[in-house]
Point group: C2
Chain length 288, copies 2
């Protein structure tokens, strides 16, 4: 495999850019393709069937461009579509749930871990399943926090209303004295300050972006596919809808300017539901 | 035309149920088909191209079921897709913007009208265009209020955070002393109490649901297609994604229980982009 093939990162919208940001810090020499499914965002309020379908289309599109690793930088897609993606996509697939869980288990002292995320992620019970597989004694409490995403996107992260919302959502975690809280949605790191203020300094907030980037580094190294002598790494963005907000919110999430944004309309994406694993496999090989 | 053909009402999700609610009050003897595009909701943060595409698919699907009137019960779709819908759909098409504007002009004394809505609706300038066509002397101020929809869907309409958000969004309208505020999003009637509390009793809130139902009654009567001797009117719901929240939030918006919900997956909807006006026309006639 060509070691300078890009890493594909996919999210329902802009949230995954907080994950890309960590990747750029941990693996700055890599090339990246980022796909935000902005025409159909959010995934977090939708059914598993629909999330799987959309995730397969976007991931197949990225695979077809030629990537060496796929990062599912969306908790809802990681919770609901990861098994299907691993079956279809012919390169290693990393989710954002497992790295977050490993970190949370390392950090907890009292064995009580809280999980916040979208309605779809929380309803899936994906975090609890992974947690219990690793340590069946861990106690978990979870709750969806649907207002956090729009507050992050409005950038009202210091607004008193945001604090009131956080107090309401997080009360149960304080009452139950969790000592680790998993931020199970890629938007939530944007709200880290207010969440930390409400939870208090004794509670560790775990966002999976950094752990996911570290896991990716391990996989690249184990498979000997890390980029080499790449002096001018590239960064390309794809969106299913070219909205006014993608760049505006995106640059704030990513912490740098965004160039090179390509619109891939949904009618093009929809065709990728019929792309077979073998076909993608062949195309990926052809490009190497 | 068969007078007992249903009225088709379409929205990006649950918001249009506040419109259906008024229709059921004003025209209780009619049959209704309601479509919520829950797989791709919201429309309000997306580009006009995408909103037009989704609107055409959903409306064509409804037309294909056989309807006598189409109500675009979504401000974003009304603002961006109405011309294309009128070209394609072979029955009268009503939007929610014109009825709201007529009512607002009737209600204002000082000629200063405020408009709130989604980012897409406000960016389109559709309300201002219609207002100026009727009365060029009206002064308008508008602003998008993206946090109102998630507060309505969380049903946190009495929460202190909701009041703080309303105060922030509405400050400009108070400072500019508008005496009428158009609720340019079908979710906003759910927040009427808090908006009214912030704006004060001297400001009239206009939601277009009732005016839209009155306009529909006029059109049915002018075309002599109002339902007759319909003792058991039916009410059918279609969604592009069967989410856990549709019924839960929907019943609260509609103010009654919801039965008869059919899932029309997006892969079925997508086919309707190729349905031609003539074909729908023929099918609608066949059913009469």
């Amino acid at each position: 495999m060509n070691k300078n093939l890009p890493i594909g990162i996919f999210d329902s919208g802009v949230g995954g850019l907080t994950v890309l940001r960590e990747f750029l810090a941990v693996l700055p020499e890599e090339n990246y393709l980022y796909f935000g499914d902005t025409a159909r965002v959010p995934y977090g309020s939708k059914s598993s069937k629909t999330v799987i379908r959309f995730s397969l289309e976007v991931s197949s599109y990225l695979a077809d461009q030629g990537i060496k690793l796929l990062v599912v930088a969306c908790n809802s897609a990681s919770a609901l579509a990861i098994d299907d993606l691993r079956k279809l996509i012919p390169v290693p697939v990393i989710d954002v749930i497992n790295p977050g869980v490993s970190k949370a288990i390392n950090m907890t002292n009292n064995g009580k871990i809280g999980i916040i995320g979208t309605s779809a992620t929380i309803a899936s019970g994906a975090y609890e399943q992974v947690l219990r597989k690793i340590n069946s004694k861990i106690k978990t409490i979870s709750r969806p926090c649907p207002l956090f995403v729009p507050f992050a996107e409005e950038n009202w992260i210091k607004h008193p209303a945001c604090k009131l919302v956080a107090e309401e959502y997080l009360e149960t975690f304080r009452n139950n004295k969790v000592d680790v809280l998993i931020l199970g949605c890629t938007h939530y790191p944007i709200l880290k300050d207010v969440i930390s203020e409400v939870m208090g300094p004794e509670v560790t907030l775990v966002d999976s972006a950094e752990s996911t980037a570290m896991e990716a580094a391990d996989i690249l190294s184990q498979n000997d596919i890390a980029a080499r002598e790449n002096n001018s790494p590239f960064l390309k963005f794809f969106v299913s809808d070219l909205t006014a907000n993608f760049r505006k919110i995106g640059e704030q999430f990513l912490g740098r300017t965004m160039e090179n944004i390509t619109n891939v309309p949904v009618e093009k994406l929809e065709k990728y539901k019929t792309v077979k694993k073998q076909e993608i496999d062949k195309r990926t090989k052809d490009k190497n």
